[in-house]
């Protein structure tokens, strides 16, 4: 195995050297450069560069960089275009060497009503991903168009096909039958762990700072690894080097701010922040819930070939739910008072930090290097507790005082320091090689205490080294991208992850896409749903002395253009999961004994219609999905196969925006999720003990069954409406005029219009209460309609 790896490596180096040699390239030259907005100087992703009178064309990549190869000596005219900008022509005179152009700036033009769309137009995808089989691009406009997404990336992605939420109150999401811990979230190339806010069950990323979101939900290329399900790559704004601009959303509970401004010659800064303090919850439930997040960015465009960027991000969450007070109010209102004293509490306290230094260098017109060093950390301390006293009448007329207690503490910390470097080489006009190396140094510290019993703790410091290479080869209507990723974890074996993507342009504006990939994951997530009220964060566990979890993706998709801005696509996927791990929290002590190895699979079909017709834009999707797991030899479902958690066979989602006038837009989102299976504990063992201090008998529950998904949940249906209206009068307008805002609008959101259909999302067992022994209490997070209102000012 080791020899094979070394041979592959030698071949790649030789191939690169030969490709760079003049003998290989002949007299052909390359033109490259950046494309950016003339006012903001933000690089433009997905701008098209065409050679006048020639078929050569390129699209700017995630760095806003393009490269066109295969030119002989002579004069050429490049036409650069992007939706929302006036086209620009640039004359290039090639003598005897390639050229790196001075940054090309495009001037924005006002869009007519018919051109306004919430959907990212095709051709604006990141260049490397024109062969990606399962790639979705989210723009800030799309995120803002979803009424109840609250301008949040993680809330918005759940309206996309193949992506579903997990627990109620939890921001975690699942992709195509994968575990929530199998999704990579990257912020400007930095892996972010638990990128969620609990208070509003959303992400920690301020949409105001986001330039672009690329979502790869399967079959992604060799550049990305370490996760088996999906990659969410978020690119943030670098800042305007010419003038001050900003955006504010002022509110008493939840405010946001964004500023970008020049910071010296050729340099810019961006500062953004959000804070939320749940005042009402504090007053009603006497619980403290708040969060804040901060983004800082500094970019220096040293010259046309050199750029350096420094970014920092921090977020802090504190969520406390204590139902004691609420229970007392409830009891007083409805005259119920079963329990003498009732405490149900969950506290979640966590912090994220990430910092990165990025250097982008154009070595020569055909060679582009991106080098990045980063630090990312996540630290959480979570507590779930249930404590109540109950007076039970006995046959002899006495009263038995019972106390029920359950307390669980989970602590988790992960630190990731990484260094990576990638080079893109335009080998020929039909071939572009992308190769790189990554080094990660991890630190993991976890501990669990269940019912005052220490269930183990550990600290581990593994290393991960990865090399990757992929070559995108385009020949007429065919594009293929073979690639390989080679990883070494914790000084173990070198393991190979082959990848392959292909796209074929067929007549009739039809495109066929295929993808194959093997994915390895060394860091898994512990499922804590059995001991926490709801799992809000991933508790990362580094595999030790175990092979990595593995999944193999087979994807085929066909896409057809129905018009200039309307597309329909049908994707089919099959995921073979030959190795997966789960934690059996209840039956064993210590961490490593809880890890159970198993297998699984997932398959499905996704139909998506997206684009715009006249003033209506958005998407509609239908998905059919199935996923299974099996842990033979374990007590999880007695070793038998079962339908994986969160799998809903049928989902229908639609998000539509109707731009009625330039000042008024109507948004609607409709989600239908068919019923899914959940695990309901059907036996309960209680451990009794006598407390001589309080002279009471106390007990705490032990859930003994490992039966999985034995109950069927009903379907979920949600309909929300949003109205986005330009501010013309009132306090908001006065505020906009005072700050000389370029744009000011109000958003009204009406959630859960179908509230009469109550969405029960899980059942709580009554726990053997007298008279309720066999009953389950349905519970959902979305019972009542609500109306939200916010202002936004952009200047």
């Amino acid at each position: 195995m080791k020899n094979n790896v070394i041979n592959i490596y030698k071949f790649l180096i030789l191939f690169i050297l030969l490709s760079l040699s003049p003998a290989m390239k002949g007299q052909l030259m390359t033109i490259s450069g950046y494309v950016s907005d003339v006012h903001t100087r933000e690089t433009l992703i997905g701008a098209t560069i065409q050679v006048k009178g020639d078929h050569k064309a390129a699209i700017t990549d995630g760095n806003g960089f393009f490269s066109l190869a295969g030119f002989r000596k002579g004069e050429y005219t490049l036409v650069i275009s992007h939706l929302g900008y006036a086209p620009e022509e640039v004359d290039v005179d090639l003598e005897n060497r390639g050229v790196v152009l001075t940054s090309i700036h495009l001037t924005p033009v006002p869009l007519s009503l018919e051109e306004v769309s919430i959907v990212a137009p095709r051709g604006n995808e990141v260049a490397d991903r024109t062969v990606e089989a399962s790639h979705i691009q989210l723009t800030p406009k799309m995120i803002q168009s979803i009424p109840t997404a609250g301008k949040d990336v993680f809330a918005a992605v759940k309206y996309l096909p193949g992506i579903d939420r997990t627990e109620p109150f939890s921001p975690l999401y699942t992709v195509r039958g994968g575990d929530p811990g199998e999704n990579a979230v990257m912020l400007d190339g930095v892996m972010i762990y638990n990128p969620y806010h609990s208070s509003i069950t959303s992400g920690i990323f301020n949409t105001m700072t986001i330039k672009n979101v690329d979502l790869l939900v399967g079959g992604f290329g060799a550049e990305y690894g370490g996760r088996n399900s999906s990659v969410m790559y978020i690119t943030t704004i670098d800042g305007n080097p010419n003038e001050l601009h900003g955006e504010i959303e002022p509110s008493t509970f939840y405010s946001k701010l964004f500023l970008e401004f020049p910071a010296g010659k050729n340099a810019s800064m961006m500062i953004a922040g959000r804070y939320l303090y749940d005042i009402v919850s504090n007053f009603i439930f006497q619980t403290r819930n708040y969060f804040y997040d901060v983004n800082l960015s500094y970019t220096n465009r040293i010259n046309d070939r050199n750029r350096i960027t420094l970014k920092y991000f921090e977020s802090k969450d504190y969520t406390g739910y204590n139902f004691n007070t609420f229970y007392r109010y409830f009891g007083n209102t409805f005259n119920t008072d079963i329990y003498d004293n009732f405490e149900l509490e969950q506290r979640n306290d966590w912090k994220n930090r990430a910092g990165t230094l990025i250097h982008k260098l154009i070595v020569s017109p055909g060679v582009y290097v991106r080098t990045q060093a980063y630090y990312s950390s996540h630290c959480s301390k979570n507590y779930s507790g249930l404590d109540f006293q109950l007076a039970l009448p006995e046959d002899d007329g006495d009263t038995l005082q019972m106390e029920w207690q359950s307390k669980n503490h989970l602590g988790s910390e992960i630190v990731d320091m990484g260094l990576k470097s990638a080079v893109s080489v335009k080998l020929a006009n039909f071939s572009e090689l992308h190769a790189g190396v990554e080094y990660n140094n991890f630190a993991f510290r976890n501990n669990i205490v269940i019912n005052d019993i220490d269930n183990g703790s550990f600290s581990r410091y593994p290393l991960l080294i990865a090399f990757f290479a992929e070559d995108k080869i385009t020949a007429g209507r065919f594009s293929v991208r073979p690639g390989v990723r080679i990883t070494n974890y914790n000084k173990g074996q070198w393991l190979v992850e082959p990848r392959f993507n292909a796209a074929i342009q067929l007549p009739g504006r039809i495109r066929l896409k295929l993808a194959y990939g093997e994915y390895l994951q060394y860091i898994i997530s512990m499922n804590s749903a059995e001991i926490e009220m709801t799992q809000i964060v991933d508790y990362y566990y580094p595999l030790w002395d175990k092979e990595p979890s593995k999944s193999v993706h087979y994807i085929a998709g066909v896409e057809k253009s129905l018009g200039p801005s309307l597309f329909v696509s049908l994707d089919g996927y099959y995921k073979e999961i030959p190795r997966v791990y789960a934690f059996d929290m209840n039956n064993y002590y210590g961490f490593s004994e809880r890890v159970q190895q198993g297998t699984g699979n997932a398959y499905g079909l996704e139909l998506l219609v997206n684009g715009k017709v006249r003033n209506v834009s958005g998407w509609m999707s239908y998905s059919y999905a199935r996923a299974t797991r099996q842990f033979p030899g374990s007590e999880i479902n007695d070793g038998k196969a079962y339908d994986f958690d969160y799998t809903r066979p049928h989902t229908f989602k639609t998000v539509l925006t109707y731009q009625m006038t330039p000042a008024f837009a109507l948004n609607t989102s409709l989600v239908f999720l068919s019923g899914n299976k959940r695990s309901i504990e059907n036996t309960l063992q209680s451990y009794y003990y006598y407390d001589p201090v309080s002279n009471r008998t106390a007990f705490f529950p032990l859930y003994t069954t490992n039966k999985k998904n034995n109950a069927r949940m009903p379907p979920v249906i949600n309909l929300d409406l949003g109205i986005r209206k330009e501010l013309l009068t009132g306090f908001g307008k006065d505020l906009a005029d005072f700050f000389k805002a370029d744009e000011s609008y109000a958003t009204v959101t009406i959630r859960n219009i179908l509230f009469l259909y109550r969405n029960a999302e899980f059942f709580i067992p009554s726990g053997g209460l007298p008279g309720y022994e066999d009953k389950y209490i349905p519970f959902g997070s979305n019972y009542l309609p609500s109306v939200g209102f916010s202002y936004t000012l952009k200047f």
Binding site: R328, H650, Y658
Partner: protein, 386 residues
């Protein structure tokens, strides 16, 4: 947007959704619940479309209603000066004079834009005759011109807000003379009239007053007569001042902190009306309260260039954090308050800077199933006027 386009959009959306929906609906009943939910979903969607259908058909009327107002300038009041030009400096369409809001079908906010039939600047220029022996040549601008509705609890007049800078032209120079500031109040008659008629009346009455003010201004510029009260000689860079005010109240068994944010127009007379938004935190022996009020109504009277007397009234909705929750019910969490302030304070006329206030506070609050309670206290506040 014409009806044809709107109808086409509606037909497209409706048919596209239903066609796809029919395709994906399970053909065989998996469980009866899914089928009934699909049916319910279709019904609800159709109901929603039916609700929105009149909206879509009548889109132009509903979302961008445009009303035209006849503004006939007064030409009876004679002038002894020449107005060589009027420049509209507003970043809006040249005939726009107001936006009003209506709510249609219970939830859809609709804007109505009111325009004069000709450009506002042309209309104002037409209102000035050409005298045979003019004393001065003047140039006018329009920096602000909008008619709003003031929606207080006790008063709700129309207010025409205008800032008209006046320049005096000489052979070599254009001299800024000041800005005529208007906060012209008009209380509509009880008998309801059409919107357009009301606006025409406001414009007519205002224009007459404007011509008089121009006469006085010309006399002030040429003969050093007293200037009109609403001529602000310093350069006004903005049409509103932003006030941020923080105050504290102390009383028997309670104390509170209050923050207020509001806009005011440049002052033209002794009295001024404005509305503010309030956030209040109150601490009593029984509870803590956080409350919000959207319309704190202020009646301000100017004592001199630096001092004002202010009476304010507001309605707040608050949330209570009870100290002893033993017998408290869920519906006793919200609190409704009616409060009032009488304060005097430092507030420079038509200039920014620090503000100070002191005075009296009264509050009547009500919690369901409890007796209303009255509080009284002393108020001290400070703020800044931007």
């Amino acid at each position: 947007m014409d009806m044809h386009t709107v109808t086409k959009n509606f037909t497209f959306c409706h048919s596209l959704f239903l066609n796809i929906f029919v395709l994906i609906t399970p053909r065989r009943g998996i469980i009866s619940g899914i089928e009934s939910i699909c049916f319910l979903m279709t019904k609800v969607y159709i109901i929603l479309l039916i609700m929105l259908f009149p909206v879509r058909v009548l889109t132009q009327y509903i979302t961008t209603d445009t009303l035209y107002v006849d503004f006939v300038p007064d030409t009876l009041v004679p002038v002894n000066y020449v107005v060589s030009g009027v420049t509209d400096n507003r970043p809006v369409p040249p005939g726009l004079i107001s936006y009003t809001k209506k709510t249609k079908y219970l939830m859809l906010p609709v804007d109505q834009a009111l325009h004069t039939r000709a450009d506002l600047a042309d209309i104002l220029l037409r209102g000035f005759q050409q005298p045979s022996s003019p004393l001065d040549t003047l140039l006018l601008g329009i920096n602000t011109f909008i008619i709003d509705r003031y929606k207080g609890y006790l008063k709700n007049p129309y207010i025409l807000k205008a800032d008209i800078p006046v320049y005096r032209l000489s052979a070599n120079d254009t001299l800024y003379a000041g800005t005529l500031v208007y906060n012209y109040e008009y209380q509509p008659p009880r008998k309801k009239k059409k919107t357009v008629q009301v606006y025409e009346q406001i414009l007519g009455k205002w224009h007459t007053e404007f011509k008089m003010d121009m006469m006085i201004t010309a006399g002030y510029l040429h003969d050093h007569n007293p200037a009109p009260e609403n001529l602000v000689e310093k350069s006004l860079k903005k049409s509103h001042f932003l006030h941020l005010q923080i105050g504290a109240v102390t009383g028997l068994h309670f104390w509170q902190l209050e923050g207020e944010l509001y806009f005011t127009r440049p002052e033209t007379g002794k009295r001024q009306l404005f509305l503010g938004s309030i956030v209040r935190y109150q601490h009593t022996d029984d509870f803590e309260m956080i409350g919000f009020g959207k319309k704190a109504e202020h009646f301000s009277t100017r004592i001199d260039d630096n001092w004002t007397f202010d009476i304010a009234a507001n309605v707040l909705v608050g949330f209570l954090k009870w100290k002893d929750t033993e017998n408290i019910k869920l519906y006793q969490i919200p609190q409704f308050s009616l409060s009032s302030f009488q304060t005097a304070g430092f507030n420079r006329k038509n200039a920014g800077g620090i503000q100070l206030r002191a005075g009296l506070f009264e509050n009547l609050y009500y919690v369901i199933e409890m007796k209303p309670k009255l509080q009284a206290g002393i108020y001290l506040g400070a703020g800044y006027k931007f």
